[in-house]
Amino acid sequence: MDALALSRLQFAVTSMFHFIFVPLTLGLSILVAYMESRYVRTADETYLRMTKFWGKLFLINFALGIVTGITMEFQFGMNWAEYSKYVGDIFGAPLAIEATVAFFLESTFIGLWVFGWNKLSKRAHAVSIWLVAVATNLSALWILLANGWMQHPVGYTLRNNRAEMTDFVALVTNSYGWLKFFHTLLSGYVIAAFFVMGISAYHLLKRNDLNFFRRSFRTAATFGLLSSILIFLVGDFHAAEVAKTQPTKFAAMESVWETKQGADYNLIVVPDPANERNSVEAIGIPKLMSFLAFGNAQAEVKGLKEFTPAERPPLLPTFISFRLMIISGVLFVLLTIIAFFASRGDTLDSRTTLLTIMLYALPLPYLAAQFGWIVAEVGRQPWIVYGVLKTSDAVSKAVSPAQVWASLIGFTFLYGFLAVVDIYLLTKTAKKGPDSDLSAIIKTARTQEV
């Protein structure tokens, strides 16, 4: 493999690994902050124990999100120097702003939250975790505005052999970036909801600490239901935005070959990329594709044949990932509706089938989020900045294949090791359950008032 292929593989490995941890942080920070606020309001000690237990899991995950994030910032320059030179004028700004306005806040207040139990007032302590939650979500906004620009470049002009920013407001109001932001945020909320529901289900099945886990489950089910429904709506807007701005990606997502007006939506499609057609197209809903994409049943949907093969993204990964993401999304809505109503009454812990399903459903939203990123990034190929710069022109010239081999192997080992440690620690902590020694917890929490 050449440096380009290796660099792409390395970027895929490191960013997908990073994105195992980020989305849980996005959602769980909010849930933990909510729990602590409830504790401050009601002085109900179950909420304090919930804060501590879910907070512990939050921190294990958070640590890996932080350390793998440094890689992301370094490797634009390391592996994608031509890209960095060409677009740094406009792409560097949101990254630098992210660090300044969000990452500092997140990293400083997490220290205060973890080590400040005895040093801050109850209220200030709860404010710390809320600031962490806000900062994490704000951080995602700037990163996704940066990514949104790569998907749908706006507010720039080509000058001095590079893309120069001409309109900062256009960059920060880029609708593509905002849709992506909400879509990503909500995917993190769904992941966090399934994480909390899954672990709660494990303990409810074992009949551990029923009151604690019923309440955790109920909180997560409510959060999960809202998020699953919203992500569906946002996802729909987002797909429409893709149809408008990235016709090649949209055609690959849906495996559309021929340009058509009033295109049908086929529930079952089997693509045959070698022959530039679909070998199966069944259960078509008339004109639905045109309607979903453009809000107009007669609108024209561009097919892949409209573009030369060199301009098309790899079809199968884009198409399959998109289908799997949509199916998962439907499943999340159904599961959270059932979970929501089941968690209302007092019978939750007797619903063993549902609890077993929720336990095993824990990894699904993680997978859906990874599929989503495959659609977003593979579907954008051959472009690194859609319509502006090809990925093949973006790779560093000074970096040899041997260097990237070495780094790729290094990342694989290091990240593999971290994954093992992370899974070990999360499983151990999750299985152990919340601290039952309330007196110790309360003592630590109370000394803060002295």
Partner: protein
Amino acid sequence: MAFQIIWFVLWGVLWAVYFMLDGFDFGAGMLYNFISADETEKRIVTHTIAPVWNGNEVWLITAGGATFAAFPTTYALMFSYLYSALLLVLFSLIVRGVSLEFREKSDSPAWKKGWDIGIFLGSFLPALLFGVAFGNIFHGLPMDADGYHGSLLSLLNPYGLLTGALFVLLFLVHGAIYLAVKTSGGLAEKAAGLANKIWVVLLVVAVAFLAYTYFATNLYANYFSTYVLLIVPVLAVLSLLAIRLFAAKGQYLKSFFASCLTIVMVTSTGVIGLYPNLIPSSLDPNHSLTIFNSSSSVYTLKIMTVVALIFVPIVIAYQIWTYRVFRQKTTPLDIAAEKESY
């Protein structure tokens, strides 16, 4: 034109503050295995940096982000030319972070021992490699119209290694004094004793560095043309001496501030000497990366200036507040309380 200079100053400030803050984390991390007599002392040492290292490290992320946004060509070439060295820095920082976060998650001695090695390596390697990298930047990288002609090994030249040693020693003294301030009893005494001893070596290496710099780099040219700038290296030397003077009187907090000032002034001495270069070429000055030929457009620099002027003071304010919240010495009692909460 003026905006490039503003960002050059900010670029220097970000690196200087990063080294000042993460420097004591590195120092404490390097000393950690050798200074602590038992498990409680080990936990006291990590506890002195645990609440703040994360926020300190963001100064590096911001320095990187600012380089990207303000001087994209320098960011692109510096990071791709120094690929392997930066990769080692990256891996070390990842290891340091997870070692600090995960060490207390199990009581098994083997588990703790593994992370102890991680804390040492994750502190020592970045300290050394940042020094080596900056030494090579001060000296200039072998680059011309055909690109870069160096390798990981060519970075390990005598001047690069001397700068690496200077950084390691600066951070060791810095970390030792930090521990003298933040701990008590035997541990604090040991830290202070070590700071005094290492300081002597630091002084020797610092003198050698200043002398070697005259021969190996062009850094002094700006000082000879604008004498008033000499105040910066003079302050670096004076604050270096002040570290020892205050430490001898047992005034460790003042000694720590002197050590902070030393790191900021040493970094500034180098950065001022570079001007107007960010990375000089050791082969052909026409291929040096300057703040003018590698910067973003004035429009971008203006936007970033506004963002920096609003948010950097806010960051500084809440970080100072955080240090105030955690201003007390770490005692065995804190360790006991921590065990109960996490």
